[in-house]
Amino acid sequence: MKTWKSLGERRGTVRARRAEFEEELPVGESVRQISRRDFFRFSGLGFAAGLALGCKSKVVEKAMPYLNAREGLTPGVAQWYATTCGGCAAGCGVLARSRDGRPVKLEGNPDHPVSRGGLCAIGQVQTRGLYDEDRLRAPRLDGKDTDWAALDADLARRFADLRTSGGAVRVLAGTILSPTLRAAVQGFLGTFKDGRLVEADALSCAALAAAYERTHGQRLTPHYRLEEADLLVGIEADFLGTWIDPVGFTRAYADRRGPDKPRPMSKHIQIESGLSLTGSNADERVRLAPSEAVPFLEALARQLGLAVEGGNLPTDLAAKAEAVAHELEAHRGRGLLLCGLNDLRAQELTARLNHALGHEGVTVDLAHPSLQKRGDDRALEALLREMAEGRVAALLLLGCNPVYEQPAAFASAFDRVPLRLSLALTEDESAARCTHLAPDHHWLEAWRDAEPVAGTLSLAQPLIQPLFATRDAVESFALWSGRPQLALQALKKHWEVDVFPRQKAVADFETFWNAALQKGATQVEAGGAPRYREGRVEGATSAPRKDGYELLLYAKVGLGDGRHAHIPFLQELPDPITKATWDNYAQVSPATAARLGLEQGDLLRLRPEHHALELELPVVVQPGQDDRTVAVALGYGRTAGGKAGLGVGRNAYPWRAFAGGFLAANPAPLQVRRGQGRVELACTQDHHSLEGRELVREMALAPYLRDPASARPEEQPGPSVYAPHAHGAHRWAMVIDLSACTGCSGCVVGCQVENNIPVVGRDEVRRKREMHWLRIDRYYTGSEADPGVVHQPMLCQQCDNAPCENVCPVLATVHSEEGLNQQVYNRCVGTRYCANNCPYKVRRFNWWEYPHQSELARLGFNPDVTVRSRGVMEKCSFCVQRLMDAKITAKNEGRELKDGEALPACMQSCPAQAIVFGDTQDPDSRISQVLRDPKRFLVLGELGIGPAVSYLTKIRNITPEANQGGHHGA
């Protein structure tokens, strides 16, 4: 039945349609329980009998108060705790909402100097990682659950042997952001004759640090200050999505992205082979194959007067390199060059260019280097060698999963280590091969600290007592060192000794400590910047390849390096660019797809030449991608570590190899063969064109600056037959700045967590039944080869004359006097008429009773939001529970609600500060000011439905002649 399909979404064999549903959901068992209840409700006895069976005398309900009251602890009242996100090594500041003594929501901490209030998708779901059924609940010894005493006894014996024998003890860790933990690990290793810490990141930036070792004599990662840059040139660096510190970078980037910011709008040029989130936000993009990136840099360097060999480029690219060089020249001292390649030559060129252009000390901060990526690939390579030679007696894994994320050689070498100990939270691929498991606390249960940028320290305090028999890594290492110490003591001591003296402002440690706890972060002195050293650029030049396919390995915004692949929220988060969920795939450019006769979903067999591993992946046709590049996401294909991640996608990590001591995608030509059949990808968006519709407005910067009023849309909604209805004390409205929004999707997940929105699984997404209340529509404009990209967050527009309201027969959706379009779940009978009549298609229907029965997972639900049953419509409520909470708090304190006090979850954590929300009844509120912005336009305003959400025209910092993409809009 080919006719059922549209051109863009022809599908072949649909794999395993129904069976997958139950498996993919986080908790499968409960589906059955629920349906049994419904079964009785209807069990063939007719409707009345069904009604009667639905009745039940409620069981005796317990009411269990606290045993002891505590100052400031009130059941039902949320407390906010400042802490530090442990989702990755970026160390963003987090505010955790604690209800009844457990964390239910994480948000960005505006007081944190690096992340400044932003939080990414991965950070937002961390509570779900805490209440995860797949966590290890006790230590294990040789594959069997045991208790800590037994494990410690066994370890003590083995460590004692090693101390006497002098066997090599290695701790392999992802970047350890916590100075206290690092000290504990170092202290532990210090008790051995041959103990060493090896840090290795799955998404490695080792070459960057190594380059600075060559240029400045010190292995460091600079802290890039995007807010200072007038010109940003990114080379294969997805700094808004996955590179080093995406939240901090996005926050800083947003400071300069938009025509009405305090400082002039920056210009962003992205040079890349795939279309990354960062590239999708660039004003100009240069497409090149991965092998052309280093020559491009060489060409830049030569243009800018550095004595470098190479720089052989095809003529069109050479011209572009010249243009970019001119731009850099023009912005000398105010620009920034960022390179995401894990290639020493590339990074050294970048470092030397940044120095030569006078960026150091302005946009490249070496005095306060970033400590977020400390992985050293050379050390890892050395460790691998040691292991393979059988010279490692004990390997302790801390916050890493090398069997999964390192080259295949690791796994076999790992088995040669006699004592294999992992501190992982779940039984991941590496933990499954360990002899000892000493599960660490989830970071929300632990006392930690973090120093993301030298001199900026933040504290992480636990939000709940440990749920399981886990132990803080700090305590474990202290104990194994023979100096048992509680984590809080260790932390406090470390701060008293090492941190407190580095500042002068506060004289009393307790005050300093308490202030840091409450604020979440503190800034102290850091060392000075190292000096530049002239030198020859390392490595030989390589000519770009002329033909054949090249492999690009990248990380997805939602999944990152894959360590959280077992959290279904992240699997279901649509990739900001492809809008695909629950899979990784082989991205090819439209031209390549046409040449190979490929369509979306066709299976493709890929293998780097001479490599053992061949992967079969579905094709995604990716506009804007280089024609010779095949891009595959990392982080998929988990085989252990949690149900949701199992069997989702394929693991491409083994395709990385050491090149000159740094892990990078296998540079061998990629063999591409057609596979058998097709897979239906679970995409949330199938149509990528605006179809010539004025749904998004765009404008170039220069004409806007000449005449800001010209941005005002010509067409205004016509008059209404009816008089507008009255509003009460407040009237809520939202404005989304399309110039600022990067599409990072943090809001999507934040909304999902705040509002108890279910994850539905791959099959349901395939059926277009994802539940996200807030989605980000991504449109391509212009040519397929070089498209303009627009990210448009789309949520319930809370229309004043909402079309959904009229049609509900039972008054389940009506208007509030504060201008909210209210959806009353308990009144809804589920006709779906409202969803049909919604022009924005933002209403979501509960097609099934989604499983919510896991008692553990239910702890993570927001207790202020009803968990919807099947058959009920739901949609964005402007986080009405938060508005109510803010209003109640203000009223209880006997004062008026302040502007900025009531914030929806999406707005709170937006790293780009793209969302403004507030009360339009207050003429001084920020929203009232933004509403007067000439750039403001309504989506489908011509329907006269009066949406309360409006958008600001996307301004692109393009010069008219660079506007070859034929961008749509004003």
Binding site: E61, Y66, A69, T74, G728, M884
Partner: protein, 192 residues
């Protein structure tokens, strides 16, 4: 015959209406009168009635939280470490009444007590106690004369109609006095 028919029709209509109303939570789901035995025969009549203790003395969170809350045992122990029976305990004399002994045992055990929950609104409703207390509403408005109850029972059905009736009256009063309405009647004030 005609009389019979008319009577029949009226009876039919009326009883159908009553039946519908009854089913519609008036009878089903109406928990008023629920008066379960509690693990400790705590007497509100004694504490709130005779001793004139303020409701908020123990139910402290009622003025700051959505929950009125059940006091932690430590609150009970503020007095009952000394007070061991109804008559009050003269210093040095300790013959605790069995109920107070249960309390002391529970506290000492460190495990606390499981009371039987009486008032429970459906999960799709939020009722912020704090707003109502701070608006000056007496607890008795909804909970009945608790100070007279030896054992607490649910006094009202706590239906949406009861909520609305009060909110509407309050707003009318305010509007008559020329003030803006304070008691929200928006759906999402309670359902979210």
């Amino acid at each position: 015959m005609r009389t019979v028919a008319i009577t029949g029709a009226v009876a039919f209509g009326a009883s159908l209406m009553i039946f519908a109303l009854s089913l519609d939570t008036r009878l089903l789901g109406d928990q008023s009168g629920y008066k379960p035995a509690q693990p400790i025969a705590y007497s509100h009549a004694l504490h709130a009635g005779e001793l004139k203790m303020d409701c908020l003395f123990c139910h402290t969170s009622a003025e700051s939280s959505r929950h009125a809350g059940i006091p932690p045992l430590s609150t009970c122990m503020k007095c009952h470490e000394s007070v061991l029976n109804r008559a009050g305990t003269p210093a040095g004399k300790s013959d605790p009444s069995p109920e107070i002994q249960k309390l002391r045992d529970a506290y000492a055990s460190g495990r606390g007590l499981s009371w039987v929950r009486i008032h429970r609104l459906p999960a799709h409703v939020t009722f912020p106690h704090s707003r109502h207390i701070r608006a000056g509403l007496a607890c008795q408005t909804c909970h009945g004369d608790v100070q007279g109850m030896e054992r607490v029972e649910q006094a009202m059905a706590l239906t949406m109609g009861e909520c609305l009736a009060c909110h509407r009256t309050e707003n009318q009063k305010l509007q008559l006095a020329g003030k803006p309405a304070q008691a929200p009647t928006d759906c999402s004030a309670c359902h979210h």
